[in-house]
């Protein structure tokens, strides 16, 4: 008997049928294990809530009516498919109705006041999970299992008041969650907890921001000292690369926390490093699994990878929609603080630098940033630093590039990985524009023209035999 937190993402609870399937899975595993469930909002709901919330400040009440009507239909449809018992259907429908009535009031309030603050935005966003969790709860009860539904707040997740990106007061949270949920687990009652949302110490609704429901799941996992946290999603696990680029891409059976954090650049299909924070400290394994293929073991993320420890390279990713920014200036050479000035200007303009490379000659520094921010970055660097006597003599850009990131914990100390990567690229006749490797040696990133990106990913995937076990 294991203790497991299971988190189900937006597509896993996208429709009534999917929710029914989720209940199947939960009750199946709950027979031999103690299970706590964390659920996301139905796919697309959180985004539409943000959109309507932001529009509410200028739109009329009519728009709100249309929106809530759609939302009501989406959820009642899900209820009628996910749950068979009329009594439970009615119970959940009543909760849905009350919740939507509350949402209507909130949106109308925003409409009248004409503004949406980070605080009220969190409140609006919380409705996605508050609507989805009761349906999952109802579906589980429909399977004749005992269950109880909680908001993140009621479950005991207490955060600071940093709305939109709140962090838990971990010890206090663990204390409350243990007090409230552990007794249920002991009695084999399945708690269903809303992901993403929590509350500050005054009980005001907050959201945990980046990492989302995964973060809630790992917080819960740590608080309940579970054996594993399972992240149920719509992919088999973390892949060696994007299967759209390399059809033979393989699922990775095992990764370390560090490696998994590096994989965050795979985007939505991976886990945000923030969500891995709590579990990596407590050494609680995380498993990524596919709701559509529960027979697959998925990717296991643990402290130390055990199997296949010889593989130096584990995955390769391409990051698109980026641009390269090159700053030249002879006056930067040997001048302490000159790089700081460059980054200070970018920072003041809220431009995040994704990758940096600077030669020991110090005469130029190359950076990779989001493509959409390129114009702002160039303008501000020129304005601030390019005057006669300034440290910058020229700023050039390339906006048709992509970053290729090659990852693997065992690259550390393995000789010849870099030379193998670069000779593979050279054999394809493709020019590398920029290179960066941190001294952690978990990752080598380089920049090529975007049109060559897919070919480079394929070549490296093949060269390192990533498609073979």
């Amino acid at each position: 008997m294991k203790k497991i937190v299971m988190k189900f993402g937006g597509t896993s609870v996208g429709t009534g049928e999917n929710i029914r399937h989720v209940a199947d899975l939960v009750t199946k595993y709950a027979k031999d294990n103690k299970v706590a469930v964390v659920v996301s909002a139905l796919a697309g709901v959180t985004n539409s809530l943000i959109e309507t919330g932001c529009q509410a400040k200028k739109s009329d009440e009519k728009h709100i009516q249309t929106f809530t009507a759609e939302l009501r239909k989406k959820h009642t449809d899900a209820i009628s498919t996910a749950i068979t018992s009329k009594a439970i259907q009615k119970e959940v429908a009543q909760i849905t109705e009350n919740t939507i009535a509350e949402l209507e009031k909130v949106l109308t309030g925003i409409c009248y006041v004409g503004e949406i603050t980070p605080k009220s935005k969190d409140y609006v966003m919380s409705f996605g999970e508050r609507l989805s969790a009761p349906i999952v709860w109802g579906a589980i009860k429909d399977h004749k299992a005992e269950s109880q539904c909680f908001t993140g707040k009621d479950a005991g997740i207490v955060t600071n008041s940093n709305f939109g990106e709140a962090d838990p007061l971990m010890n206090f949270t663990a204390h409350l969650i243990r007090e409230r949920l552990s007794p249920l687990l002991e009695k084999n009652i399945i708690p269903v907890v809303t992901g993403f949302i929590a509350a500050d110490q005054d009980g005001v609704v907050t959201t945990v921001g980046r990492g989302g429901s995964d973060y809630t799941a790992t917080i819960l996992g740590v608080a309940l000292q579970v054996d594993e946290v399972w992240i149920w999603t719509d992919v088999d696990g973390i892949m060696t690369t994007d299967p759209k680029i390399v059809p033979s891409a393989r699922m990775l059976p095992q990764l370390s926390y560090q490696e998994a954090a590096e994989m965050a650049i795979f985007g939505a299909k991976a886990m945000h490093p923030r969500a891995l924070g709590p579990v990596s400290k407590e050494n609680i394994p995380v498993r990524i699994r596919n709701t559509a293929h529960p027979e697959n073991p998925g990717t296991l993320i643990t402290k130390e990878p055990i199997a296949n420890a010889k593989e130096a390279v584990k995955a390769v990713a391409m990051i698109k929609d980026v641009a390269m920014l090159n700053v030249y200036g002879a006056a930067m050479v040997g001048a302490p603080g000159s790089y700081a000035k460059v980054f200070d200007v970018l920072g003041k303009n809220s431009i995040n630098v994704m990758m940096i490379s600077a030669a020991a000659s110090e005469a130029n520094i190359s950076m990779v940033i989001k493509r959409g921010l390129l114009g702002r970055a160039v303008s501000n660097l020129e304005i601030a630093l390019q005057e006669r006597g300034g440290i910058v003599s020229e700023v050039t850009t390339e906006d048709d590039v992509a970053v290729i990131a090659v990852m693997g914990a065992n690259m550390k100390g393995t000789l010849g990985v870099a030379s193998k990567i670069f000779s593979t690229v050279a054999k394809k006749g493709i020019n590398i524009r920029m290179i960066a490797q941190g001294s952690s040696e978990l990752n080598i990133s380089f920049v090529v023209k975007e049109k060559d990106g897919a070919a480079v990913v394929r070549a490296i995937h093949e060269e390192f035999n990533l498609d073979k076990n």
């Binding site: 200070d344 200007v345 702002r376 303008s379 304005i383 601030a384 390019q386 005057e387 006669r388 003599s393």
Partner: protein
């Protein structure tokens, strides 16, 4: 630095010419790398977020109106307001025609630019004459700069001269010939003894005067400039209606001949002395440095310490006025650089 150019008349064209010329010198000497990312006029706009190349700008100028006919970047029917709102840029250069009834559409353009965090350089007197205290406050509130050297004296740096070169001194009075058209007419009348009507017709033929000449000859243009000088240099919160204004329609050949006998002549003088802002045909001695002929402008600042300083130059013209826009852009660039580095 990314620039949205609003208005593609003679000044707008001058701005594109000046920004393209000697580009490398601007970069190396001033760190100023201007990129025009959009030009908006009544028919629509040309938009390229990467900046329109000098070749493209030349092509647009050759094709003329409608500017939105550009095959690569033309966008027909988009309003200037929409362009200001949606295109990313640091600065809006507002050079639409003057309207002294309600200042539109320039006032809307300028306020929209402020709201979206863009600095504004304008050569348009209308918005300033009608709402200068309001606009300067709004700029300050939104933490952006509003610059308008081209509104007074064309390319002659009258505003900067007073504000910068005379810093620390106290300016007691300002008097000036601030309108080239009326000065041309009065010069013709006094030197060639032609009537007002003939001189006006001549000015219209030469393109110095508009078909509808009231703006110039009734002293509105001069009055606008008086308002800007009073606000910017003497810190008086006045608008157009506070200026006591008389034009040159009533000036006769007889009056000019009488003045000539006294070694004087009559000029349309805009002045600020004490609390009085005035535009009025005034007799001045021929020896007064203000007494310039033809379309020239001149301005005298009377100061507490440095006594009288007079500046003479051409007060209009596309390229001349565009040079004032360039100065304003460089000024804003320097101010931004200081801000970014502290």
């Amino acid at each position: 630095m990314r620039i949205i150019l609003v208005g593609y008349g003679v000044v707008g064209k001058g701005v594109t010419t000046i920004l393209a010329r000697r580009a490398m010198e601007k970069v190396s000497d001033y760190g100023f790398n201007p990129k025009i990312v959009a030009i908006a006029d009544v028919d629509g706009a040309v938009i390229n977020p990467r900046g329109l190349s000098p070749e493209k700008l030349e092509e647009i100028k050759k094709r003329g109106y409608p500017i939105s006919a550009d095959p690569d970047f033309g966008k027909k029917g988009i309003s200037a307001l929409e362009v200001i709102k949606t295109v990313e840029a640091e600065i809006v250069v507002e050079v639409t025609p003057v309207n002294i009834k309600n200042g539109e559409p320039a006032i809307s353009h300028i306020t929209e630019a402020f709201k979206t965090g863009k600095h504004v350089v304008t050569t348009n007197k209308g918005p300033l004459a009608l709402a200068m205290p309001a606009l300067t406050e709004l700029a300050e509130y939104n933490n952006v700069y509003l610059r308008f050297s081209g509104t007074v004296g064309g390319g002659t740096p009258m505003l900067e001269f007073a504000k910068r070169c005379l810093a620390g001194d106290r300016i007691l009075a300002i008097r000036g010939i601030l309108n080239g058209t009326t000065n041309y007419i009065l010069t013709e009348m006094s030197q060639n003894h032609v009537t007002f009507q003939d001189a006006l017709a001549n000015a219209q033929k030469l393109g110095y005067a508009e078909k509808e000449p009231s703006m110039d000859i009734d002293g509105f243009d001069t009055a606008c400039k008086v308002v800007i000088l009073a606000n910017w240099i003497m810190n008086k919160k006045i608008t157009l209606k506070d200026v006591d204004r008389t034009g040159i329609r009533e000036v006769t050949l007889q009056q000019l001949q009488d003045a000539a006998k006294r070694n004087s002549t009559i000029k349309l003088i805009g002045s600020i002395e004490g609390d009085k802002a005035m535009v009025k045909p005034t007799e001045i001695p021929l020896t007064n440095p203000l007494c310039v002929s033809g379309v020239l402008n001149a301005i005298t600042f009377s100061t507490e310490y440095a006594a009288e300083q007079t500046l003479i130059g051409r007060g209009a013209g596309g390229i001349e006025t565009a040079s004032a826009v360039l100065r304003d852009l460089l000024d804003i660039r320097r101010k931004l650089a200081t801000k970014l580095l502290t």
